[in-house]
Symmetry: C2
Subunit: 418 residues, 2 copies
Amino acid sequence: MKYNSLNEANQAVIDKIVSAQPYLVDVVPAKSVIKELNGKVLLHAGPPIKWEQMTEPMKGSCYGAAIFEGWATNEEEAHKLLSNGEIEFIPCHHVDAVGPMGGITSGNMAVLVVENKDGGNRAYCTMNEGIGKVLRFGAYNEEVVNRLHWMKDVLGPSLSKALKLTDGGMNLNVIIAKAITMGDEFHQRNIAASAIFMKDITPYLVQTDISKEDLLAVTKFLADTDQFFLNIAMALSKAVMDSARTIQEGTIVTAMTRNGNEFGIRVSGMGDQWFTAPVNTPEGLFFTGYSQEDANPDIGDSAITEALGVGGMAMIAAPGVTRFVGAGGFDAAQNISDEMKEICMDHNPNWSIPTWDFKGACLGIDVRKVVETGITPLINTGIAHKKAGVGQVGAGTVRAPLGCFTKALEALVEKYAK
Amino acid sequence: MKYNSLNEANQAVIDKIVSAQPYLVDVVPAKSVIKELNGKVLLHAGPPIKWEQMTEPMKGSCYGAAIFEGWATNEEEAHKLLSNGEIEFIPCHHVDAVGPMGGITSGNMAVLVVENKDGGNRAYCTMNEGIGKVLRFGAYNEEVVNRLHWMKDVLGPSLSKALKLTDGGMNLNVIIAKAITMGDEFHQRNIAASAIFMKDITPYLVQTDISKEDLLAVTKFLADTDQFFLNIAMALSKAVMDSARTIQEGTIVTAMTRNGNEFGIRVSGMGDQWFTAPVNTPEGLFFTGYSQEDANPDIGDSAITEALGVGGMAMIAAPGVTRFVGAGGFDAAQNISDEMKEICMDHNPNWSIPTWDFKGACLGIDVRKVVETGITPLINTGIAHKKAGVGQVGAGTVRAPLGCFTKALEALVEKYAK
């Protein structure tokens, strides 16, 4: 190891996180930047998983993607295609991408492009579809598929044109720094960041050659989509954490993700390897007519935000979320972030949280501290119905399982004992 | 008195505050809604004041207004006109209006129109000009006057057209309720409310017939003006508090304002009467090159926000502001709001503050409690340079002087002793 100690290696990892310069630079068809998607291929959330093992909402998303791509005209055809093994699956994380909930991403879907101008690397994520019937939660009806087409044909190209008029893209560190003082934690609450994004992009949208009709549809969609920034936050988290992964040493968590069956983490010293354990099921508040019994087990790449130190780790920044996710009041929010700090190396000086007496967000989850304390990262998450086609039924919190951290620590011991 | 006790009267006053339904319904030339402005008349901030008594920044604003109206072509001509008594002055508060800092408002300036759909009354305020050289802080150069013309000719009419496409205007209770969870206190911090306002109005702006050039200029101005919502908050505070004034009994403060010399308050049981005492000078943080010595004494109608229970009263909602105004960290913010609660009747159930453990904003400043405790309202405020033409030099906090509350209490004792 080129570092004198694990602490020194870990410091190098978190230095990469702090020095990252993520910019939203474009929105493009996924297959134009992810070459693996030029075929009958779907990306999915979490560590590797086979079709047969997928939980229902992820399967529902696959139906929707197959219909969107024109590989099937209905659920039945899609099911046949998928069951016959005619579709290849790749984890988003293996191709510089992340995907919310099911994370199902196909070649013609529009993806956000976040470039880390410090590391030079890029990361991709589909755009937020809004609430209600949406692909990421396993819905796949006509409304869902039509929206995906509109996002590909209108929203994506419009934002792409607007972003090209900016000076090198939108500086996401700045938006995070502002919005973390405005009650966002960037997983279950992005209302401030989404509003800032819309406010900043609008004058550029106006300067493009898009039609008035499209400008109206785009601005209306952005105005109505309070979680629009979530997917930007995911792509930026991926871009930043992948930059941190280049250090290739140390005990810092560089990715956390769930495929509905398994929770997987990556650790700075262990490269691309996944350490997995069975996922927990989120608990929280449910929409009218639904209850805990309807909840699908934990799913989605969005826990990359917690790996970066926001989301549930930054609960104190967003006390409003603690009520939304059923986790209590202001004191509860503070207790959660204080607890999360126990498993982290430091505070991120870029993102000062006024409600935490101006301390920075959590920085660098250390596998050693997780195992030592038994405290696992808390994740704020949407809750999908366990049946395909229903969609989101609530929001809550869920703990990462200790098992994957224990496995990672064992592997690290083995590596560094050599 | 038709109430059985002062407490019952006060309850009626705060019930009016809570039941108010302020909507932003239009932006129009001031003289079209304030008939007194059809002549050589200027509105000013604070209780009544004569030209000779005005502090320099208010005088600077008068020069700018005279030039804007075409009554004078330069400072010299304006000064002559004003010194000769050719301009009549009326307090904004006497004609359903409020004005920031100098509060100088002339007939052709565009004003926001806020309608309280509960009381049916309306209130007016000029629009926020942004930062730097601006009329409200006493600057009056060409840039300032040109901007006022653009606001009259482009920004105002554009927003008016957009607002006419909405369903009865923009519901300001909703924006306040959202933004108070996002770090705004609506006096020195309006970044969230301004972003929400812009996000919500943009799709309507797009639907108007304004040119692409104007749409760009308007969206760019709104995107760049983080305090745009302040003036909306002022007009809504005025509309709400004027509705509360219809009760005409009790000991609740219904207006607080400053003209640079005197701090004036109105009290629910004493109708239109002003109770005044010499203003204090705000203390806080200064822009580079300026210091406390440059500060003009306290000025502006914006303390109507504190009368409503936000601004400095809601410091805990905006811990970021405590640093901006030099008042400390998170604990300081909490201490201030806890102290302010001691002089208020209740919490406003409409506007829950997550950082105050979800308690509502302060509601109903009781003159009796102010005098009894000696605690006077804390006001968050911009600081004008004491010389005309310079503009804003900082931001800070200032206390309302106890004297006006003591005078009001004496008058109330006299009234209710009969």
